[in-house]
Amino acid sequence: MVQILVDNNIIEAENGANLLQTCLENGIYIPNLCYLNDSQEPFAACRLCFVEIDGHPVAACTQKVSEGLQVQTDTSAVRSLQKTAFRLLLSVHEIKCKECSANKRCDLQRIAKFLKVGLKPKGLEIRLKDPGLDSGHPYLIVDQNRCVLCGKCVQVCLQKHGHSYLTFAKRGFDTVISGYIEPDDIPLTFSGCTLCIDICPVMAISLKEGIKS
């Protein structure tokens, strides 16, 4: 076990443990969307989990804990990056909280509250995808205007099934999560697995009508 200092709290953790997970487990919240607990290779894509170490902002999910590590979670550089990343995500997100199944359970709402910012991406043009619903998967619908591309669905599916039935598709700004079924892949019946639906921080994935979990 080693000791680290997060803001003013001394925390004990296993040497080499993941910094983000350590903070979260010790009740110190750091905004995050893409980190999966005990992940060996953190995806590090959402860019919300910044903390400051040695005067530099770094993504907490990519840091390992070591003796004497000093971490600040609330510096202006950290907040500036977090707010910008958050606004960027909102600039492609359909804000219809009242009608949204994720309302009150949504990680975006939680982060907005934590960062004390609204859900309107101030100063940025909003650009939604049309059509927003992707039904390329035989059993699932992905709402592209909710999805934050954290990739958790792809990772859990891969872990569970050995390869993922969801994948990143297209490039650049147009990148989306989409169904990925090779012709000889199709499971004849829906297995009942809803890991991807359950893990999604914004409830962007749902079962198609008539499919029962």
Partner: protein, 656 residues
């Protein structure tokens, strides 16, 4: 166990004798062939047949030579070589016609017609047609030599020395020029010796970041518990950059030798070339080079009797810019989507399929054989203390002699652009040099005396990148340049991390608004803030450097951004929506119809006194009229903002 055996073998003098004997025989055969070629007095025609030459018509030139030679019954040898780097001269040939008494002569722009003419007049009749030459390839008493021309004399070729001189498809031509001698030498000494020389040379990676090559190899060497693999990165996705392709197509064996030396230094038995599939000729050339090297026993099993094994192969990437980034490259080779991941672990610690992986750029590897041959201190004589060796740039844009240039590090931008590449054509003024491609920056005139080396360029706000340079003249709009590069990075982002995927799109969208006159107060600050955050927040090098074109153009050309926003004016009069063409009636010649005929939308009309005017409503601003207006009149101008164009009324009767 294996390691010990290798080490033991290296130090065994009997094995060294075997290596000497085996390589000696290969070298002697290559020399014999070279002598045979030299002693044969028939004329030789060297033609540059890399992708660039072929695109300029070199295949047609070659066919024309072949046909004319056979029609006229002339005996000559056509020697297919790679690219010499002088793009402005493509398709070029060098003719050696020793019986005529002239030295070898360089001819630029040899079309099929010129090829026929030269065959007849020079090869048959002995008249070299001096009006068509660029110069002789050697100093002589009769005709000026190309070495009087600074495009030739100020270069210093270490990596590209043999490019354009040898046939890339014939391993013997490389060996005859001392090729693979470093390899044979290395195999006779312990691997540390190679590492020591590379470390001592101070060689820095030419793929962009300038990381010390020796240090990278050392890190891999330390991973004693892992098997190793070495990869040559030839993804080369920067728009306008083609150095790596040219080197692979023109002298693949030098890169192959460098890769083999790298493998030997770190104890890898597998080596791969990652080449984009859009480079079919480079792929073919390197594949052929590998099989020839295998056949000669230069790679493969028990190489030259040394006991060292090395397998080589080519992997074809599907041509995404981001796959040049080393972690994305590894994923793409493993069959996954090319999305960079966080480092550490560095590839040397855990890379392709969990192996300790060394990835180096084509130019980095090609510098290794000369370093081993001549020694680390020889290499350090060129370049600067912190950036030893040479830099290879593809210089394109508004410059008189574009092409590939290899210069010592530390040469200034001014020397490169004005002395070597001939400056800006059409008496236009220099505006900026965009260095380092989409990750680089635009440097204005004040920076012309900046030495070209890794650190000075970064200090100035640009970067070496992989060595693309676009020279821009006064007619270029800097907002438009930034938009061009952001459009590229935005499309090429892998889409993984928030800043790069969405942030670059917002930058682009603001820039687009500026270029159509819809800029708003506060846009500049927004660009700055976003750029700053994208730089600091992105996961990989693509996002971290993507805002550089915006940041440098904002830093050095801020007034242009302001003019777009505040006055709807593009100072270079280049943005279409903000500018207009008009005809100066004082200069326009009565009765001349040049502009009328070329206008695709019939926007040019005749005024009551038989001069011309442009109907601004119809004009699509293609600029054809300006091109076609005879130089004696030069009556057509472009102006911004558009409303400043003088109004010329269309005569009533024409209107109907």
């Amino acid at each position: 166990m294996k390691k010990q055996k290798e080490k033991g073998k290296k130090l065994n003098p009997i094995d060294n004798k075997i290596i000497d004997e085996k390589f000696g025989a290969i070298f002697a055969e290559a020399q014999r062939r070279k002598k045979e070629r030299q002693n044969n007095s028939i004329p030789k025609i060297h033609i540059g047949l890399s992708t660039c030459g072929i695109a300029a018509g070199a295949m047609e030139t070659k066919t024309a030579f072949e046909e004319t030679l056979s029609q006229r019954g002339i005996e000559a040898q056509i020697h297919c070589v790679g690219c010499i780097g002088h793009c402005y001269a493509e398709p070029w040939v060098i003719i050696e016609n020793s019986e005529s008494g002239f030295p070898p002569i360089f001819y630029p722009q040899v079309t099929a017609g010129k090829a026929k003419m030269l065959t007849k007049l020079y090869l048959e009749e002995g008249d070299p047609r001096l009006e068509h030459i660029l110069g002789a390839m050697e100093e002589n008493e009769m005709i000026p030599s190309v070495w009087e021309f600074s495009r030739f004399s100020k270069e210093k070729r270490i990596v590209m020395d043999l490019c354009g001189k040898i046939d890339p498809d014939d391993i013997n031509e490389y060996i005859a020029e001392d090729g693979y001698s470093s390899w044979a030498k290395a195999l006779k000494s312990p691997p540390d010796e190679v590492l020591k020389q590379v470390l001592g040379s101070g060689l820095r990676g030419r793929g962009g970041a300038g990381f010390l090559t020796g240090k990278k190899w050392e890190l891999a060497l330390k991973q004693t518990h892992l098997e190793k693999i070495v990869i040559c990165n030839a993804d080369e996705g920067d728009p306008g950059a083609y150095m790596d392709r040219t080197i692979l197509e023109s002298n693949p064996h030098q890169v192959l030798e460098g890769l083999a030396l790298c493998a030997y230094a770190i104890g890898a038995h597998k080596a791969l070339f990652y080449v984009r599939a859009e480079y079919p000729l480079a792929v073919k050339t390197i594949q052929n080079a590998i099989s020839q090297a295998m056949e000669s026993g230069i790679i493969g099993k028990d190489i030259l009797g040394s006991g060292f094994d090395l397998e080589m192969d080519v992997f074809q990437g599907s041509g995404a810019f981001v796959c040049g980034e080393e972690t994305a490259l590894i994923l793409s080779m493993e069959g996954s989507r090319g999305m960079p991941y966080h480092r550490p672990p560095y590839p040397a610690e855990r890379g392709f399929q969990g192996l300790s992986t060394v990835i180096n750029n084509v130019k980095t590897l090609a510098a290794v054989p000369p370093i081993l041959k001549n020694g680390a201190s020889w290499y350090r004589q060129t370049g600067t203390p912190e950036s030893p060796g040479t830099a290879i740039f593809s210089v394109v844009g508004n410059v008189t002699h574009p092409g590939l240039v290899e210069i010592p590090m530390g040469v200034t931008l001014r020397t490169l652009i004005f002395d070597i590449c001939g400056g800006i054509p059409d008496k236009k003024k220099f505006k900026a040099a965009q260095i380092g491609g989409p990750s680089g920056g635009c440097l204005p005139e004040e920076f012309l005396d900046t030495p070209i080396d890794f650190d000075s360029l970064i200090e100035a706000g640009a970067m070496m990148g992989s060595g693309g340079m676009v020279v821009l003249d006064e007619d270029t709009c800097m907002v438009d340049v930034a938009k061009y590069f952001l459009d590229f990075t935005q499309k090429e982002s892998c889409g993984k991390c928030t800043f790069c995927r969405i942030g670059t799109w917002h930058l682009l969208s603001i820039l687009q608004r500026l270029t159509i006159g819809e800029g708003q107060e506060g846009d500049i600050e927004k660009l700055e803030q976003l750029s700053h955050d994208i730089k600091n927040g992105s996961l990989c090098g693509l996002g971290k450097t993507a805002p550089n074109p915006v940041l440098t153009s904002l830093k050095y050309f801020r007034e242009e951004y302001e003019a777009h926003i505040k006055e709807g004016c593009c100072p270079a009069a280049s943005c279409r929506a903000l500018s207009a063409y008009y005809i100066d009636l004082d200069k326009c010649a009565r009765g001349c119809d040049a502009c009328v005929g070329c206008c695709p939308v019939d926007a040019v009309f005749t005024t009551s006194n038989r001069k011309k005017g442009i109907d601004q409503q119809l004009c699509v601003k293609c600029g054809e009229c300006k091109v076609h207006c005879p130089p004696d009149y030069n009556a057509i101008f472009r102006i911004s903002p558009a409303h400043l164009a003088p109004i010329i009324e269309r005569p009533k009767e024409e209107n109907q």
